[in-house]
């Protein structure tokens, strides 16, 4: 098999690595005439000299013949004609409609030149061409003046018309890449400006200065702005990227204004024990940001336990960790936590988020709702693999390549028996051991190929291609045709009663088993149907481990298909820009793939994911893990990898992604690599240089605990001493465990807290479904919700600590007559200090300070009983922000 699918993907990597620091460059100091200021330090690359647009087109009589693709449409885009609110709108504007951002050359050329009265482009009287009259506002134009009469832009369009207004898209051949100088801009003070220059390289060897044909954008206008002509101005301290868009090129360059004078040689000495730290500090040194100190042992233990296992450390664990004097106890703790059931439970929950494991969109069988059970199977399947550290790529392949039947040779009857075996009453088979996991594709909310493509891109690539469903992606290279071609991989995947189009030769089928059930159950004399009876018979078969009519997941190769007329009509209705074509499957950023060479259309996709140069597969996981630990991804939003949204630290992304792959996609390796860094172990305490830093990881950014973790944290803090020790591992009762997801459709009390704290429903392709915003309802819950107040006295998942203390501190009043042999036990007086310490250890995972002890003793003394004293202090500590956040 010869897969040439990496071309565009190569260029993505290349573009990203241009400024990765490997190329030697020299520093230039540019003096702005008249201003006399020392301006930005810029990293200059050697660039060939090519004339600029005004030089080439400034004088009408000497102007070159412009190119429609290289000049005209890019100019239209740059001056705003093809913008979303102007002629790029789906309905156009004023009867003139261009493709959004100007990528559809054939259609736009037609629109500009072939209007019925030939007024937009008037060959006879060029200056009366409507495109010129409107753009210069000589004829009333809602979009006002976009170009000035007599300017080079005007001349360019004029010259193009006089040269025949041709579309030369075929002739220009393919675009190759953009090169931008400088490759990086480091400003010295706000208000400084520097000009960037953009060169376009075409496959035919042409190199052009396209600065004035390029659209520019800043990723953060509070740090830096860029003019339409590519002049970058420093606004405020910080760092961001300026992005250039031209033809198929999307190219960011880093721009920064150091936040302090502690840069370069003036930067203090900071230890960099790991590669992660080296790369982080390299960036911070440029920015003049000094990292925070190392966090305390207690902070580290709480932080890493919450992040890696979704669980608070127990009081005993805190005390043991604090007493441990071994120098490598922090890394040892990471290793220890990786072996706990809570680790696999929590990450199976997180992975379920990313993959869209939602019981409400899982069915199982037309009539029987197996949503909760399938969701649980899915979860268990993930957890089982996380627990044994199965390589990430292997695990994802088990999902991506899954079919209903576990082997191609499996008969429907055996499949149906196997499915029942997972639910049979006696000795059920383990779904988690199943080689593959079909529920991802079986979801009812991704029935169309289009929806499958979106879900696939989100879950496995961390890419949002929704935009390209209807128009050119505004921040990436994807066009609508790229999307349609990618979508073609998913046309052959379906979930249902029988494979599409095929009449099988099997004797036992979904239909035959359904018929058997019908025949076994007498019809209801009233309605003619007997849904309940049929359902019971289905259940009886399942419980007995007998074949039952289960729906299944199919994947068949489909030859490249022409869209049906109806489909084209539908797409055109949705978007008049839609350009109907034969759909050839094409990997995002890659080349065409002949699907008929593969029995399963997903095989080439999986190969692409696993190829060492895939720009998304490993990176998207690395980025999600990083985002879990640092509150934001190296790329942020974490599921939005796109060319215009580069990682905040490219070298670090490369290091982690490469390491992840080299270490056999070991998730445990990735956790260790990140968690053992000094960067992860920074204090939240800010210094003058880093108090505003929320994206370069110079301090620990405080964030609210995730929904499940808060709910479990409250439970754990309130449990009796015995139960507390076992709670963490008892994932069946944990909110981070498998059952919290089941039945989320209901309005049960146990779901209320998870809902208000932002547990994701897993309904849309967005990691943002999980929220960590504080809200009023959350605060009201912890202050005064009856469920919460009751849990202080009657803990969820076992008996409560307050109750335990009450029992120990009040005289035993027996209602039944005790045998005289049992002497009455007088309760020992409780030591308030021990109780106070326990409250702190249970909630904020540290012993109280002397001052806190002092306050608490007073509050305790005022309480009606030790139990009440504990309850009130527990209430208070669970309501502190220190409890509610990871810090």
């Amino acid at each position: 098999m010869d897969l040439k699918i990496m071309n565009k993907a190569d260029s993505i990597l290349f573009e990203h690595s241009i400024y990765s620091g490997q190329t030697p460059f020299h520093m230039n100091k540019i003096f702005f005439a008249g201003l006399g200021l020392v301006v930005a330090m810029v990293v200059q690359a050697k660039v060939p000299t090519t004339p600029t647009a005004p030089e080439r087109f400034g004088q009408l009589e000497k102007a070159e013949e412009p190119s429609f693709r290289r000049h005209i449409l890019p100019l239209f885009s740059r001056v705003g004609c093809s913008g979303r609110e102007c002629h790029g709108a789906f309905a156009g504007q004023g009867g003139f409609q261009l493709s959004l951002f100007g990528y559809d050359f054939a259609k736009d050329h037609k629109e500009i030149t072939a209007d019925t009265e030939e007024v937009r482009v008037d060959q006879k009287d060029i200056s009366k061409s409507l495109v010129l009259l409107k753009a210069t506002n000589q004829e009333k134009h809602k979009g006002k003046e976009r170009i000035k009469p007599g300017s080079w832009e005007y001349n360019l369009v004029h010259k193009w018309i006089s040269s025949g207004a041709k579309n030369d898209t075929e002739k220009t051949g393919d675009f190759d890449r953009l090169e931008i100088s400088p490759k990086e801009i480091v400003f010295k003070k706000a208000g400084e400006k520097t000009q960037i220059r953009v060169l376009a390289y075409w496959k035919d060897g042409t190199v052009e200065d396209v600065t004035l044909f390029t659209r520019f954008r800043t990723n953060d206008d509070s740090v830096s702005v860029v003019s339409a002509t590519g002049e970058v101005e420093a606004k405020d301290k910080g760092d961001t990227h300026i992005v250039a868009f031209y033809d198929n090129g999307v190219h960011p360059i880093p721009v920064m204004l150091p936040v302090s004078d502690k840069v370069g040689a003036s930067y203090p000495k900071v230890a960099t024990p790991t590669k992660v730290d080296e790369l982080i500090i390299a960036k911070l040194r440029k920015l003049g940001v000094v990292p925070s100190e190392t966090c305390t042992d207690a902070e580290f233990l709480r932080r890493v336990s919450l992040d890696l296992t979704g669980t608070l450390p127990t009081p005993n664990q805190v005390m043991q960790f604090l007493a441990d004097i071994s120098p490598n106890k922090r890394t040892a703790k990471v290793d220890e936590l990786l072996k706990t059931p809570a680790y696999s439970a929590w990450w199976a929950t997180k992975m379920s988020d990313f993959l869209g494991n939602n019981p409400r969109v899982l069915r199982g069988n037309g009539a029987q709702n197996y949503g909760d059970k399938f969701s649980r199977q899915w979860y268990d399947w993930l957890r089982h693999r996380i627990e044994k550290n199965e390589p990430y790529d292997k695990m994802m392949a088990g999902i991506i390549l899954a079919t209903g039947r576990t082997k191609p040779t499996q008969s429907y009857e055996d499949f149906a028996r196997e499915m029942s075996s997972y639910f049979r009453a006696e000795n059920p088979a383990s779904f988690a051991e199943r080689p593959n996991m079909p529920h991802f594709w079986a979801r009812q909310n991704i029935r169309t190929a289009e929806e499958k493509a979106l879900a696939f891109a989100h879950s496995f690539l961390g890419v949002r291609i929704e935009c390209a469903q209807c128009h050119k992606h505004p921040f990436d290279q994807w066009t609508q045709n790229d999307f349609k071609s990618f979508q073609a991989f998913f046309g052959g995947i379906s979930y249902g009663n029988k494979p599409p189009g095929k009449t099988g030769d099997e004797k036992v089928t979904f239909a035959s088993l359904t018929k058997e059930i019908r025949e076994a159950i007498p019809a209801d004399p009233k309605s003619g149907n007997n849904q309940k009876g049929l359902g019971n018979e289905f259940e009886r078969r399942v419980k007995a481990g007998e074949p039952a009519p289960w729906q299944e997941l199919f994947a068949i190769a489909k030859a490249p298909s022409k869209l049906s007329e109806r489909e084209i009509e539908r797409l055109k209705k949705q978007n008049p820009n839609f350009d109907s074509r034969v759909l050839t499957p094409k990997i995002l950023g890659g080349e065409d793939v002949l699907l008929t060479e593969f029995p399963d259309p997903r095989t080439p996709l999986m190969e692409w994911l696993r190829s060492s140069k895939n720009p998304y597969f490993a990176r998207s996981w690395v980025n999600r893990v990083w985002a879990s630990y640092f509150n934001r991804g190296l790329v942020e939003p974490a599921d939005d990898l796109n060319l215009a949204n580069p990682p905040v630290n490219q070298e670090l992304m490369d290091h982690l992604a490469d390491g992840f792959i080299k270490n056999g996609y070991s998730m445990a390796w990735l956790h260790r690599e990140i968690l053992s860094s000094a960067t992860y172990q920074r204090s939240w305490k800010a210094n003058d240089t880093n108090k505003h830093d929320e994206k370069n990881f110079s301090r620990f950014v405080i964030r609210r605990l995730p929904a499940e973790v808060i709910v479990d944290g409250v439970a754990q803090a309130t449990l009796s001493t015995d139960r507390l020790a076992s709670f963490a591992s008892d994932i069946e009762v944990r909110a981070i465990g498998p059952n919290a997801n089941a039945g989320r459709g209901g309005k049960g009390a146990s779901n209320y807290s998870l809902n208000i704290f932002g547990k994701p429903v897993r309904e849309t392709n967005c990691d943002c479904e999980r929220t960590s915003d504080p809200t009023l309802l959350q605060t009201l819950y912890l202050r005064n919700d009856p469920e919460f107040l009751t849990s202080l006295e009657q803990a969820r998942g076992g008996s409560s600590w307050v109750e335990e203390i009450r029992r120990q501190t009040s005289p035993v009043v027996s209602k039944t007559k005790q045998p005289a042999a049992v002497p009455e036990v007088k309760p020992e007086p409780m030591n308030p200090d021990r109780l106070i310490e326990q409250v702190f250890l249970r909630t904020v995972s540290r012993p109280p300070t002397a001052l806190e002890f002092e306050k608490a003793r007073i509050d305790f003394a005022a309480a009606a009983s030790p139990a009440v004293g504990v309850r009130e202090l527990l209430w208070a500590m669970l309501n502190t922000r220190e409890f509610m956040v990871n810090h």
């Binding site: 001056v79 170009i147 954008r217 800043t218 921040f475 609210r704 208070a876 502190t880």
Partner: protein
């Protein structure tokens, strides 16, 4: 060069800024500032809204769009009666509403194509035809984002609850405060988180507030600088003032209502929910939803309506309009009454009617909406719109317009996609002066 790329619309930075409202790092300190700014036009009369959901899909033919001249197979058992508004006829089983028909407009021939309960509900509760790739926010979430809130009560209250995901792409902070139960006549309501339960007294609330302050000092001065910590603190203060506020408690306490207002309502859960809604609006809550189910009358339609649903609706809804008027709130409170669809004009074999989205009715009133009129019409047999179809999008846009909210205002979803509040709707001119 003076050209700006204004036409390229929203910049990435804007996405981040808006995304921040649902994101983590940037927003909280600004949250109250933003919510108190609002983005509303001053001209509108509506300052608050009540949304009455008739779950199950009420039959239009037997309520507000009767067809006395239709054939037996369609007409149904009920007769139209005159109302206090010229030319407006409604079902004989809605006599109380007939006496206050000047206070609302009847929209007929409202039409869509989604005949499943959940999809129809999503459409009618958001004004946007549901998409698999995007969750639209409920009216209440949009209103609580657009209209300024108050300190002692939440902006958006659902009595007793709302389908989850009411906030759609807007994020959890615009979600409803759910009372969890319906109120009982003459009693104070135990509202989750607000009511003093579990033996907690007002003194306990004060003492505990003091306790938090004693132990919540771990972050020192940084707690004021950090946006998450500062935001949590603000919510803490708001929660405290809600729990303590006599006004908030009184809003949920139906025993505090006057006899004359009480007399306008029935004693059932729906009537009392409507009464509560008027009290909440009176206390400056911006958006209240109440709900009346039981409209899915596939069988025995006429007995169900005649004996139960219509009397219940009649008492509660007439009470709602009359109480708002009596309290002087009708002009500033927009009321929207809708099911998810109408029901089949043709009566089925079981004496019922099935799902029928092509010709439903809605009611709109208050908030400056012109009442006492019928807008739109269905055809002779109630099978579809007669001339112009009114879309749910149009109804939604009208509702928003009454509240001063431009339905074409754009939000950015957390994925950066620009989405109008209601893209396809146009406010209905007859309803808005």
């Amino acid at each position: 060069m003076s050209i700006h790329t204004t036409c390229d619309g929203v910049s990435r930075r804007d996405f981040l800024r808006v995304g921040a409202l649902t994101g983590v790092s940037l927003s909280l300190a600004d949250y109250f500032a933003l919510s108190s700014q609002g983005a509303i036009s001053g001209a509108a009369k509506g300052k608050a809204a009540i949304f009455v959901r008739l779950a199950g899909g009420p039959s239009h033919m037997d309520t507000f769009d009767l067809k006395p001249d239709a054939p037996d197979t369609h007409r149904g058992e009920f007769k139209p009666i005159k109302t206090n508004a010229d030319g407006v006829m409604i079902s004989e089983h809605l006599p109380k509403l007939a006496k206050c028909a000047d206070k609302f407009a009847v929209l007929r021939g409202v039409s869509h194509t989604l005949a499943a309960h959940n999809l129809g509900t999503l459409y009618m509760n958001t004004g946007n035809r549901p998409l698999p790739s995007l969750n639209y926010p409920h009216y209440g979430a949009v209103v609580s984002r657009e209209l300024p809130g108050i300190q002692h009560l939440p902006s958006f209250v659902a009595v007793p609850s709302l389908a989850e995901n009411a906030t759609g792409y807007l994020g959890v902070e615009y979600g409803p405060f759910e009372t969890g139960a319906t109120p009982q006549a003459g009693k104070a309501m135990d509202v989750r988180g607000l009511a003093l339960k579990n033996g907690v007294t007002i003194e306990d609330v004060d003492r505990r507030q003091n306790l938090i302050q004693r132990y919540d000092g771990a972050f020192g001065a940084f707690a004021k600088e950090d946006k998450v910590l500062a935001g949590m603190n603000q919510f803490g203060e708001k929660a405290y003032s809600m729990m303590r506020s006599p006004k908030a408690r009184a809003a949920f306490d139906l025993s505090k209502e006057t006899a004359s207002i009480n007399g306008l309502f029935g004693t059932d859960a729906f009537s009392q929910s409507c009464l509560l809604a008027t009290r909440l609006v009176e206390s400056d809550v911006r958006f209240v939803t109440v709900s009346l189910g039981g409209w899915d009358t596939h069988g025995d339609n006429f007995n169900a309506l005649k004996n139960k649903n219509l009397p219940t609706l009649d008492a509660g809804l007439s009470g709602l309009f009359n109480a708002l008027a009596a309290k002087g709130l009708l002009e500033t409170t927009a009321v929207f009454v809708t099911g998810e669809f109408g029901r089949t004009p043709k009566i089925n074999a079981r004496g019922g009617r099935d799902h029928y989205p092509r010709a439903m009715f809605c009611l709109l009133g208050g908030g400056g909406i012109k009442g006492g009129q019928v807008v739109g019409a269905s055809d002779a047999k109630g099978e579809g719109p007669k001339d112009r179809a009114i879309t749910p999008d149009d109804v939604a846009s009208t509702f928003y317009k009454a509240l001063g909210i431009d339905n074409r205002k754009e939000y950015n979803t957390p994925t950066g996609r620009p989405v109008m509040i209601v893209r396809n709707g146009t406010p209905i001119p007859e309803l808005i002066s």
